[in-house]
């Protein structure tokens, strides 16, 4: 294999991995910061109901 191609592949993996990591962390932080409290009772009531529909 051409070492240049291998270099390209490794660089690509590293760069895209970093981008993915950065954006993933960003989304997680955003989800944490903008978290909306959902009333846990809604889930409980839904559990108890028949749920055919």
């Amino acid at each position: 294999m051409d070492p240049e191609l291998i270099n390209l592949a490794i660089e690509g993996l590293a760069v895209l991995g970093c981008i993915g990591l950065v954006f993933g962390i960003g989304l997680a932080l955003a989800a944490h910061k903008f978290a909306v409290e959902i009333n846990p009772k809604i889930e409980e009531v839904k559990e108890v109901l028949a749920g055919a529909q």
Binding site: L8, E11, G12, V15, L16, I19, A30, F34
Partner: protein
């Protein structure tokens, strides 16, 4: 506080004036303006009357398109108009007006004395170009009716006018957001690292990321808006227009403003298509349609008719 406001307004006005007048700035004190006329003419207006013999000698002009200075364009004739300050250059071939042209005028002679040489750039008004991208994406190359993209969501959400408008607005917002991010990523990450063959994969990730981000942020910041539009957000991912736009941007090497205009135009075009379709389908609900055609089949027929009507725009150009 007041000072900061003034300062900002000053900056904005400079930016706007720059955009407006970047198309017709004189670069030489003796030349007032140089603009494209028709398909193969350039008109140059001087500040004073020029010598007729100088103006009609073709050896005094040299012109090339900005990217390649080696290829000189051939001028077939140069004429002084009735107004002695204006010269019109005729070219043998049509000019590619999307590219700036660099025009050199050698030793301009006016009223017997030499003014010196001038190098000027002739280009189209940039705002006009941006506007033509917007209208082009919205009507002339409407993504739904001329490129047949995004049909799944198009038929799914065009049953009621309220749904159609909600989907259209949500789509436009997410479209602009994700197109700008994709443009940034393409220009500053994919191209420098020679990874442009991975653009589709990256753009898919970008679209889902922006949808997720808008979803999370909107849910907290504006719950009322989220209640109205949140349902459509998930549907945006399933739309192929949102993937087509970054690919077109990457292919055409658009800059930030042009990308924004294309994304905005695509979003508005989708909104228009949805609105038109939903208006017809609301009427179809009460029309007497043969039972085999009820529902989706007649909707496809109507969409085909719309596509035929939109063919009327094809080949049009603005500016």
């Amino acid at each position: 506080m007041q000072n900061i406001k003034h300062y900002r307004m000053f900056l904005w006005s400079i930016l706007i004036y720059g955009l407006i007048f970047s198309g017709c700035t004189p670069e030489h004190r003796f030349i007032k303006k140089a603009v494209f006329k028709g398909t193969n003419r350039i008109s140059i207006t001087f500040a004073g009357p020029v010598d007729k013999k100088w103006a009609e000698d073709l050896k005094n002009y040299a012109i090339y398109e900005k990217p390649d200075p080696d290829i000189l364009l051939t001028i077939s004739s140069a004429k002084v108009t009735d107004d002695p300050c204006t010269v019109i250059l005729h070219f043998e071939d049509e000019l590619n007006q999307d590219k700036p042209h660099v025009l050199t005028l050698k030793e301009i002679i006016s009223e017997g004395k030499s003014i010196g040489s001038a190098v000027i750039t002739v280009k189209k008004l940039y705002l006009g170009y941006l506007f033509s991208i917007l209208i082009g994406a919205m009507l002339i190359h409407n993504f739904v009716f001329t490129k047949y993209l995004g049909l799944c969501v198009f038929f799914g959400t065009s049953q009621k006018k309220s749904t159609a408008i909600g989907m259209g607005i949500t789509f436009t917002l997410v479209m602009v957001f994700s197109a700008m991010m994709s443009w940034f990523l393409y220009q500053f990450v994919l191209k420098p690292f020679r990874l442009d063959f991975l653009q589709i994969v990256v753009f898919i990730g970008m679209v889902s990321l922006s949808v997720q981000a808008v979803d999370t942020i909107l849910r907290k910041i504006n719950p009322a808006l989220f209640k109205a539009f949140g349902v459509y957000l998930v549907l945006v991912i399933a739309n192929c227009i949102i993937l087509a736009v970054p690919l077109i941007l990457a292919d055409n090497e658009y800059n930030a403003w042009e990308s924004m205009m294309l994304a905005f135009g695509a979003g508005l075009g989708f909104l228009i298509a949805l609105f038109l379709m939903s208006s017809v389908r609301e009427r179809l609900e009460i029309a007497k349609v043969p039972p085999t055609y009820k529902g989706l089949p007649i909707a496809f027929v109507v969409a085909g008719l719309f596509a035929l009507a939109f063919m009327g725009f094809s080949g049009m150009a603005i500016f």
